[in-house]
C-alpha cells in the first residue's frame, strides 16, 4: 500500500512548505461528502497523529490516516496546469466514477 508524488508535485510542495516556514509534511486523506460520495483532503501537516501511516516521496513526508488509505492506495499526486488554472490532481486507480468536476468521487 502506498501513496506517491510526481516529481513536479513534490517540488511545488517543497516550495510551498519553505514559504510557509513550518510544518512536517503533507496530510492526504479522504472524507465522506460531496455530490459523489467522497472528497479528498489535502492539507499541510504540523503534527503527526499516532495512527498515521507515513510515506516519503521525492523527499516530502506524506501522512495518511489508516481509514483513508484503502481508498488512496496506489494514488499518485500530480501537479497540473489546465489553461490558467493550476493545482494538484489525484491520479487514483480506485475511483469508479467521479462527479462532473472530479472534486468528489466513488470507489
Amino acid at each position: 500500500m502506498a501513496v506517491t508524488l510526481s516529481e513536479r508535485a513534490a517540488s511545488h510542495i517543497a516550495n510551498y512548505m519553505a514559504k510557509r516556514g513550518k510544518g512536517i509534511g503533507l496530510r492526504v486523506g479522504v472524507r465522506t461528502s460531496g455530490c459523489s460520495g467522497m472528497a479528498y483532503k489535502l492539507e499541510f501537516a504540523d503534527t503527526a497523529l499516532p495512527d498515521d501511516i507515513e510515506f516519503e516521496s521525492h523527499g516530502v513526508r506524506l501522512l495518511v490516516d489508516p481509514k483513508s488509505l484503502p481508498y488512496l492506495d496506489g494514488t499518485e499526486l500530480d501537479y497540473a496546469r489546465e489553461g490558467l488554472n493550476e493545482g494538484f490532481r489525484f491520479n487514483n486507480p480506485n475511483v469508479k466514477d467521479a462527479c462532473g468536476c472530479g472534486e468528489s468521487f466513488n470507489v
Binding site: 516550495n15 472524507r31 493545482g87 494538484f88
Partner: protein
C-alpha cells in the same frame, strides 16, 4: 478533474465550497489580480503569461470594448475612445480636472461625476473601471476554477469618500463582491509581513508608471495608521524613459522625428532603462524610417546624471510627508519600495541614502500591493490558519464633521480613527420655534467650513417648535470598514429622523487632500483665533436673537427709555459682531446683558404669575441653522 490546493490543517473546504478570494491592485497605469494558492500569495497571469493588465479601455462603435494590451496598442490611433489613467477621474466632477484641455477626451458637461463621450456612448469613470475589474475577475475565475466570494481592492491612502465609493461601485458593476477596500501602502506593508513586525513607523515609497506616492504609516497594536501622504501625480517611470529619449535625440543629433520613429525610440529608451537595472551599460540601436542608423551606448553613470533632477523631485515630497507627520528620518523603521520604477539603481540608492537604511526590495515591486491585498482577501474570506485570527484595521484619512453656526466645523470623527467606527454628538436649534435643521457634512482638518470639503447636505424636518436650545438632536456618524460614511440625525423627544449615506458627486483631488493636510498643520494657531472670533460672533447673534424674541413677547414690561436703551445696545452689538475685534464683541455683549438684566427678572416674575402661555412658534422660513448643544442662550 478539479485541481486542488493545499489547505491549512483542518481547513480543507468541502467539495464545491472553496472560498476563492482575490486581491486587486487597480492601478493608474497597470492593474493586477492575486490570490493565495496553497498558502502562497501569487499574482495571476493571463493566457500569455503576462501578470500586468494595462489599465486601458477602448470603446468600439458596436458598444463592445477592449481592455489591456489590446486597447493600449490602439491608443495612438483612437485616442478619443481609448481611456487611459481613468483612476484619476474616479469620484471627480468635471471642474476638478485642471488639465482637461490637455486630455484627448470629449467630456460631457453636467453636474456630478464627469462622463466621457465615446463612440459607444457616455461612459462614467466607474463604468470604465468596471471593464478593467471585469477582465481581472474573468482571469481570476479561469485561474481558480470557480466563482469568487469576493475581492479586496486597493486604493491610494489619500482617496476620499467619493473616490472610495466610486471604486466600490465599479466593483459592483463588474459583479465582484468587495470584501474590503484597502489602502495601497497598507497592502504593501502587509505583503512584507510588517503587520506581524515590531510596532513603529514605516515609509512606503511608490513610484509607478506615471504617479509618485509617499506614505508614512505607523503600526500600533495591529493597526496601520496613515500619518501623512504626499507625492506628485505627474511623475513616474515614464518620465525616465523620456529623459533617455531626449538624450538619444541629442547624442545622435537627430532631426525632428516622425511619429513612428519617436514611438520606436521611446520603446528603445524604456528597454535601455530596464536593461540598466542589471547591467552597467545599455546598447541602443535603431534604424529610423529615413534609413539613418542610431547606435549608442548609455552607461549607468550617464543615466543617473540625466535623471538626477527626477530622483531629487521624489525626495522633496518625502521630506514634506515626514515633516507633516512631525517625524524625522531616524524615526522610520523600514522603507517599502513599490512600483516597477523603484527597480532603478539610482532610486534605490537615493532612497537608501535619504533614510540611512537599505529599503525593503526583495519582493517584486510591481506585484507587492496585489500580493498584500490577496493575503488580506484570503483572511477575510475565512481561509485562516490557526492562530492567524488577526484582522487588519484601517483608518479614515481626513476628519469628518458637520457645519455649525457661523460656518464652523464640529469634528465628529477625527482623522486616523480606526474603522469601522460610529460616533454621535448632540446638537440643538439656534432659533425659537425652529422646526427644521440643515445638516451639512464636511471632511477636512480646518476649523472653518469654507476651508473643508463639502460631502453632503440633508435636512431634518418635523422638529416640534420649542425655544432655541431645547430640542435634543442626536447626530450619529457611522463609517463602515471601507471608509464609507452614513449620517443620521434624530430629534430625541419627537423621534423625527433623517439620514443619508454619503455619496458625494465630487471628490477631492490628490493635491487638495495633501494641501488640506498641510494647511491644517500650518494654520493651527491662525485657525484657533479665527474659531474663537467666529464663536464670539455666533454667540453675539444668539444673544441678539434671544433678546429680540423676548421683546416681541414682553415689550410691555418695559418703559420707553428702558426699551430705547436695550435697542441701542442691540444696534451696537450688531455692528460689533461684524468686526474682527473679538474683545470688542465680548465687551458689547456684556453691556447688552447688563442692560437686559432687569427686563429678564421682570419676565421671570411674569411667567411665574401666568399659566403656561403659548409661545411664538412661527416657523422661520429657510432658517434651519444648527447649534451645538449646551451653548444655547
Amino acid at each position: 478533474m478539479a485541481l486542488l490546493q493545499i489547505a491549512e490543517p483542518g481547513e480543507s473546504a468541502a467539495p464545491h465550497q472553496h472560498r476563492l478570494a482575490v486581491g486587486i491592485d487597480l492601478g493608474t497605469t497597470n492593474s493586477l489580480v492575486a490570490t493565495v494558492r496553497s498558502g502562497l500569495a501569487v499574482v495571476l497571469s493571463d493566457e500569455l503569461g503576462r501578470p500586468l493588465l494595462p489599465s486601458v479601455v477602448r470603446y468600439l462603435a458596436d458598444g463592445s470594448s477592449e481592455v489591456g494590451y489590446e486597447a493600449q496598442a490602439r491608443q495612438a490611433f483612437d485616442p478619443r475612445n481609448t481611456i487611459v489613467s481613468v483612476k484619476r477621474f474616479m469620484g471627480r466632477g468635471i471642474n476638478d480636472l485642471s488639465d482637461r484641455e490637455a486630455l484627448p477626451y470629449a467630456f460631457a458637461s453636467g453636474e456630478g461625476m464627469l462622463r466621457l463621450a465615446t463612440v459607444a456612448g457616455l461612459k462614467s469613470p466607474v463604468e470604465v473601471s468596471a471593464e478593467i475589474l471585469r477582465n481581472l475577475r474573468r482571469r481570476a475565475e479561469a485561474s481558480l476554477g470557480g466563482q469568487l466570494v469576493g475581492a479586496v481592492i486597493t486604493v491610494p491612502a489619500y482617496f476620499d469618500d467619493a473616490q472610495r465609493q466610486a471604486t466600490k461601485d465599479a466593483a459592483r458593476l463588474a459583479g465582484l463582491p468587495v470584501l474590503r477596500l484597502l489602502n495601497e501602502p497598507t497592502a504593501a506593508a502587509i505583503a512584507y509581513g510588517l503587520d506581524n513586525a515590531a510596532e513603529g513607523v514605516y515609509a512606503v515609497y511608490d513610484l509607478g508608471g506615471g504617479t509618485f506616492d509617499i506614505s508614512i504609516l505607523r503600526l500600533a497594536r495591529g493597526i496601520f495608521e496613515v500619518l501623512a501622504t504626499g507625492g506628485d501625480s505627474a511623475l513616474g517611470g515614464d518620465d525616465f524613459d523620456r529623459r533617455i529619449f531626449c538624450w538619444i535625440i541629442e547624442a545622435a543629433k537627430l532631426k525632428p522625428l516622425s511619429v513612428e520613429d519617436a514611438s520606436m525610440l521611446l520603446t528603445r529608451a524604456r528597454e535601455a532603462k530596464e536593461y540598466l537595472t542589471f547591467h552597467g551599460a545599455a546598447p541602443i540601436t535603431a534604424r529610423l524610417g529615413s534609413g539613418e542608423l542610431v547606435d549608442l551606448t548609455l552607461t549607468t553613470e550617464t543615466f543617473a546624471e540625466i535623471t538626477q533632477t527626477l530622483v531629487a523631485k521624489t525626495i522633496q515630497p518625502v521630506k514634506k510627508a515626514l515633516r507633516d507627520a512631525g517625524l524625522s528620518v531616524t524615526d522610520v523603521k523600514g522603507v517599502v519600495m513599490v512600483g516597477g520604477a523603484t527597480r532603478m539603481p539610482q532610486i534605490q540608492r537615493a532612497v537608501g541614502e535619504f533614510f540611512r537604511q537599505e529599503p525593503l526590495n526583495n519582493l517584486d515591486p510591481d506585484k507587492v500591493v496585489a500580493v498584500g491585498a490577496a493575503t488580506q482577501a484570503n483572511l477575510l474570506a475565512g481561509n485562516r490558519a490557526a492562530g492567524d485570527d488577526w484582522l487588519l484595521l484601517d483608518v479614515i484619512p481626513l476628519s469628518l464633521g458637520l457645519e455649525t453656526m457661523g460656518g464652523l466645523v464640529e469634528k465628529i470623527i477625527p482623522r486616523n480613527s480606526t474603522i469601522p467606527t460610529a460616533r454621535a454628538q448632540e446638537f440643538t436649534t439656534f432659533r425659537d420655534g425652529q422646526t427644521a435643521l440643515a445638516v451639512h457634512v464636511v471632511q477636512g482638518e480646518r476649523e472653518l467650513v469654507s476651508d473643508c470639503r463639502s460631502l453632503a447636505r440633508f435636512e431634518l424636518r418635523g422638529i416640534p417648535p420649542m425655544v432655541a436650545g431645547a430640542p435634543r438632536i442626536r447626530v450619529s456618524f457611522q463609517v463602515d470598514a471601507d471608509g464609507l460614511l452614513a449620517v443620521t440625525a434624530r430629534e430625541q423627544t419627537s423621534g423625527a429622523e433623517a439620514s443619508i449615506v454619503v455619496k458625494p458627486s465630487y471628490g477631492l483631488s490628490d493635491d487638495e487632500i495633501a494641501g488640506m493636510l498641510k494647511e491644517s498643520l500650518t494654520h493651527v494657531k491662525d485657525d484657533a483665533q479665527r474659531r474663537a472670533l467666529k464663536e464670539s460672533q455666533v454667540e453675539a447673534q444668539r444673544l441678539i436673537e434671544a433678546v429680540r424674541s423676548a421683546l416681541t413677547a414682553d415689550s410691555d414690561l418695559l418703559a420707553a427709555d428702558e426699551l430705547a436703551r436695550i435697542d441701542s445696545n442691540i444696534v451696537r452689538l450688531q455692528s460689533a459682531a461684524l468686526s474682527d475685534n473679538r474683545r470688542q464683541i465680548v465687551l458689547t455683549m456684556d453691556d447688552l446683558e447688563s442692560a437686559t438684566r432687569e427686563f429678564a427678572a421682570r419676565r421671570m416674575d411674569k411667567s411665574i404669575r401666568r399659566a403656561f402661555a403659548g409661545r411664538n412658534i412661527s416657523e422661520l422660513d429657510g432658517e434651519t441653522t444648527i447649534a451645538k448643544s449646551g451653548e444655547a442662550a
